[in-house]
């Protein structure tokens, strides 16, 4: 993991197209701005992780045919 230290209003550049700027430093949190091409998707980590985990659970659960029958109905 690359670790950098930035002050307020300083930026980080990733590749050619992505820029991250420290906009505000608060008490226990930091506001970060992103400049990125439209096709790059940016998420809070916990949100993405939650969706990913739910997908995996859903995929696994769909193998339980008996359980499915209950919901698909007769």
């Amino acid at each position: 993991m690359l670790i950098l230290t930035r002050k307020l209003n300083e930026s980080i550049v990733i590749g050619d197209d992505i820029k991250i700027t420290v906009l505000e430093i608060g008490d226990g949190s930091v506001r970060i701005g992103f400049d990125a091409p439209r096709d790059v998707e940016i998420f809070r980590e916990e949100v993405y992780k939650e969706i990913r985990e739910e997908n995996k659970l859903a995929a696994e659960a769909s193998k339980d045919i008996e359980a499915l029958e209950k919901f698909f109905g007769k």
């Binding site: 939650e50 739910e54 997908n55 995996k56 859903a58 995929a59 209950k70 109905g73």
Partner: protein, 148 residues
């Protein structure tokens, strides 16, 4: 073409039934081809079967059947990605997770699947400003039909 599936055995499918997910799905980034399968006629549930992985399938359903004020805002980016020309081409589904032994069912309203059926493209869209949960519980058949 013939595809192999764990739940349904070998199936003959048409190219036109395939929905392409160029970005895969979160957790399944390399799975790009899926086909919706109607499991039982008249059921609000379908399967979304992976073409690449016979064992992989999701239970999906139309969220508007259970939640008639479900709202989602498709960003310009996603409209471009999905090449959406007209709203009529858009189908929305949500992934259902069935709890242990069929005692619970939740649907992921926060990250619906958006299909452009005219272009056979699909994407799981994570709603950013969403009041909706990842696990919205539906009632089981034991207590009554699943409605809000």
């Amino acid at each position: 073409m013939l595809i192999k599936t764990t739940r349904f055995g070998e199936m003959e499918i048409e190219q036109s039934q395939i929905i392409n997910f160029p970005q895969g799905l979160p957790g399944f980034g390399d799975k790009k081809g899926f086909i919706p399968i109607e499991y039982k006629k008249g059921s609000p549930f379908k399967f979304l079967q992976s073409l690449e992985e016979p064992d992989l399938a999701f239970v999906i359903m139309d969220p508007f059947k259970i939640f008639n004020d479900y709202e989602l805002d498709i960003t310009e980016q996603d409209k471009e990605r999905l090449e959406i020309d007209k709203p009529e081409d858009v189908n929305v589904y949500v992934i259902a997770t069935i709890g242990q032994g069929g005692t619970s069912l939740t649907v992921n309203l926060q990250a619906p699947l958006v299909f452009n059926i005219a272009k056979s493209l699909g994407k799981q869209v994570i709603l950013h400003q969403s009041p909706y949960p990842t696990r919205y519980p539906l009632e089981t058949k034991a207590t009554g039909a699943g409605t809000k």
